[in-house]
Amino acid sequence: MRAVAISLKIPDNTAFTAAVALRRLGIGVERVERSEIWFFEEEGSALIERITADETIFNPNKHCVTLLDEAVPRSGEVWIEPLEPRHPDPSTSSGEGRRATAWRLFGPNEATLDRESLGAAVERLLCNPAIERAVY
């Protein structure tokens, strides 16, 4: 399985709002990066070509796409996944299979947050355990 991150190359107001809210909760966040993680069975450059051609999930004017080396969160990152599988959406040609929202949290000097701080961010804001699971 390959994981692909689609993120904004324009300013991400949602990530900025999350950073402000987390600071208000006492979590030492300087910056937050957000991306949508899509999981695919297929491999390689053909996958990127297909994604970048799918205007329902990728807009070249505002998105960038990254093929991740491993389908696991990076340092300082949490993936929030819905507990219930999404129902297929025929309006999206890539379908709506397994998907996650990735939040990567940075502290002072661009250091990623440690696991304890990340856990606090997850518990206090980023994840509603009634409907979501956090992977980090």
Partner: protein, 256 residues
């Protein structure tokens, strides 16, 4: 001087005007309180959180607003027994704030009004809410008759109650299921539920009975000009419209 009702306005709230108008038409002394005036909120006697998209639903619907400074006052007020009523996005905020069903900790949600199912799309549909508790169980519904039917408009993409099976049982056993979706006759079945909500839930109440969260908008079927059945005479408010719930709210405040 009559009790003062605050309608907090978060960035992205969009139903505050009709909510305010209906509260006033029902005899309430209501005012809008914008996010820049958060420190004023503590001075009010009751709170109605209107619909919309507070903070653009960033992270999750209601998640950022639940941690907003304005909610500090609302949470404190709810704890002291003041009436708090949330509609649509206001209901989502109350869930994220942990005020309803209120079985967990503050700001640690135990349930969610989340993405509709089976189609994960926005629904705009006229619905009926059936009171599923004894009217007096919740101060805000105390003036309604038993099994009251309240017309409203469902207008949301994320209105489906979701929680673990254990917690759903706890919601039922604890008397937190305040309203279910129903037909106009009061009959309850799957066809009456617009969003796949667990338990057919349209509204939740906290343990103390002073915080009520409902997803549909009764204020959009309240005046004769927007009531589906317009044969109810010359009154401004439709007697069988969604205003019955707002009247009950104002009445509860007057008698508290």
């Amino acid at each position: 001087m009559s009790a003062r009702i605050a309608v907090p306005v978060f960035p992205g709230t969009n139903s505050e005007d009709e909510t305010l108008r209906l509260l006033r038409d029902c005899g309430g002394n209501a005012e809008l309180v914008h996010w820049s005036q958060a420190s004023n909120l503590a001075h009010y006697d009751a709170y109605v959180l209107a619909g919309g998209f507070a903070y653009e639903d960033r992270i999750r619907a209601g998640a950022i607003a639940a941690h907003d400074r304005m909610m500090d006052s609302v949470i404190e007020a709810a704890g002291s027994g003041k009436l708090v009523f949330g509609i649509c996005n206001g209901a989502q905020i109350l869930l994220e704030a942990g005020l309803v069903p209120g079985t967990g900790s503050i700001r640690r949600p135990t349930a969610a009004f989340t993405r509709n199912a089976p189609a994960p799309h926005f629904v705009c549909r006229h619905v009926y809410l059936k009171l599923a508790i004894e009217p007096a169980r919740c101060a805000i519904t105390a003036a309604l008759p038993e099994d009251a039917i309240v017309p409203a408009w469902a207008a949301h993409a994320e209105g489906r109650l979701a929680a673990t099976p254990e917690h759903l049982r706890e919601i039922v056993a604890g008397g937190h299921l305040a309203f279910t979706y129903a037909h106009s006759t009061g009959a309850v079945d799957q066809a009456a539920i617009p969003n796949g909500s667990a338990l057919g839930c349209a509204g939740l109440v906290n343990r103390a009975g002073n915080v009520l969260a409902i997803m549909p908008h009764p204020e959009r079927d309240a005046w004769n000009f927007n009531h589906l059945d317009r044969r109810e005479g010359d009154d401004v408010l439709a007697t069988s419209g969604g205003s019955v719930l707002f009247r009950s709210f104002v009445q509860a405040l007057a008698s508290s």
